[in-house]
Point group: C2
């Protein structure tokens, strides 16, 4: 089968490409009879308009990009569903891009978007990202950007986040209430807002309990699982080891449990654990994991809705817009009072 374009279609119909185009777009200038003829033959010939030609002419692609660090994290996979739910039927395509937590890749992806490849961007930045100039540049080129979850505070764009400070506070407070007196915090970055805010909440909880915050108890984890294992093991093997852990991302769960296993520390007797996580199987872990569950779907949806508004150009949200959707502490066995 050959490529049947609008010209071929027009020839078949003995009409001009202009007329065919208008008929397909249901223009009022075309008679009902002609429209029907065109539609019929188009279907019969299996005509599919070239998306790039339209994009070129319209100067818009009807594509929006979702940039996330990784897809193997239930927060992001659920957030994507929220995004798609908002975009649904809006005649936009959702393109998913993964940075694999690499700043260089994030830069490269955004750079490519300056060319008009997408009409808007939803982004959750990588762990490595500290500088937001690549994002600001994109915004300067009139490509609307909306942050979700992992935001850069100093870039002027709408943001949708959860209440990271409160969540960190609540998580640590929960452990304190259950008897912990020496709590460690596992972050994923020194620059990332979510990590810092969650840590700040954790610190505040300690302070409110008149406990000192020790830098040794705050570890910054990396995407390297083996390295995290070593670091956490070192932390928990210390003489004066923590009796509680607040882990700031889902992917640390496995490592924490493995280390405890290896060190023969039993959860929650020896050490209690709270983890930011959206995994539904948290409930069937050994022991079931107490989680701070983020409203992933709602965050994705809200962010997409903001972006759609920005695209509408009608009532574009202010760059200062910040939507905060609270997380929920779900108490399970891993933090049970002994």
């Amino acid at each position: 089968m050959k490529k049947v374009n609008i010209k071929a279609l027009a020839k078949e119909l003995n009409l001009s490409p202009a007329t065919v185009s208008k008929a397909l777009r249901d223009s009022h200038e075309i008679s009902a009879a002609t429209k029907q003829r065109v539609l019929e033959v188009a279907k019969q010939l299996n005509y599919a308009p070239n998306a790039y030609a339209s994009s070129l002419r319209d100067r818009r692609s009807r594509n929006i990009a979702v940039i996330i660090p990784e897809v193997a994290d239930s927060f992001f996979s659920i957030a994507i569903n929220g995004i798609e739910a908002a975009i649904e039927e809006k005649d936009y395509h959702v393109l998913i891009y993964l940075t694999h937590e690499l700043y260089a890749r994030e830069q490269a992806i955004l750079k490519d978007f300056k060319s008009g490849r997408v009409d808007g961007v939803l982004i959750s930045v990588s762990r490595e990202t500290t500088d937001g100039s690549h994002i600001s540049e994109l915004i300067a080129e009139d490509v609307p950007v909306v942050f979700f979850d992992r935001v850069l505070e100093n870039v002027e764009a709408p943001k949708v986040v959860t209440d990271d400070f409160n969540s960190g506070y609540t998580g640590a407070m929960h452990l304190l209430d259950n008897g912990c007196r020496h709590i460690a915090f596992l972050g994923i970055s020194n620059s990332l807002s979510i990590s810092n805010n969650r840590m700040a909440g954790y610190q505040q909880a300690l302070k409110d309990h008149h406990l000192t915050v020790s830098p040794d108890d705050m570890i910054t984890c990396t995407p390297d699982t083996a390295a995290n294992f070593t670091a956490i093991k070192q932390l928990l093997a210390k003489e004066n080891r923590p009796d509680g852990i607040v882990a700031s991302v889902e992917n640390l769960t496995n490592t924490v449990y493995q280390v405890c296993n290896e060190l023969q520390l039993s959860i929650p007797q020896d050490i209690k654990v709270v983890c930011f996580s959206n995994l539904d199987i948290a409930a069937i872990l050994h022991p079931p994991l107490t989680t701070i569950t983020q409203p992933a779907f709602q965050i994705g949806k809200a962010a997409a809705e903001l972006l759609l508004k920005s695209l509408g150009k009608k009532d574009a949200p202010s760059p200062a817009t910040q939507i905060v959707i609270p997380s929920e502490l779900i108490i399970r066995g891993s933090s049970k009072r002994s």
Copy 2:
């Protein structure tokens, strides 16, 4: 900042767009001095070529599509990494599309690809997909397609799969060897090759042990978790309930464990469980889950490599190409002999 296109750039340089274009593409017809000038001014003006214009002219987009049912499944999220690893540096973009297990959506996505939006497609079909005409039509339009994991046998296109029959056989055999005599199978579709092949392997294992295969013990699960819960609960609440379960996809793990929990059946004493899964946290479940782990990364990578070859048009793989990469049984607590 305005959109700076090649014309504006040419004007700034006092050159023609043709010359600028050639300079940017490092054509031999352009002098080194001019090339450098162009490059400098292009960078200075922040010039980014319009991807759609190039695609239109070249009649290729340098995009490839990955179509999967869901991203919240570690098989697929890992497979994506494999795909990206193969595509890396090949100057192609990877676009991820989700069908959410809906045939209608799969059709809609593929239909859109007839327009030349992507140069090739990697697909793992939805549960609902039985008819492959939407895929055949795409192939007929000269868009190369490669199946991975969830393939349609009767569509002529290269395929990359794991040894589903053997895996089902091995999983069931493992349970039988550990004392099970009444094993149930949880599938996800009556038409999907992976589900059927895994089930066939399971059946063969039973036959080899001279056990009868009962239709009542083979459940077809849906994307509806609640419904699955009910069905599995019904199965396990029967008087003559199974003493072993082979679950054909990762997402069933949670439900199976939850049902056992609710029915107070302990794993593995009362019932042993094997599940197809790539979850690394299988090891920290309660009890640790025996899995059949698919080579997700390798499958993704191999599929992408086949597609790249198809795009090359040089040594395109035969449509009959079928690569089989074996899965691995990882024995853990959930199937331990009592």
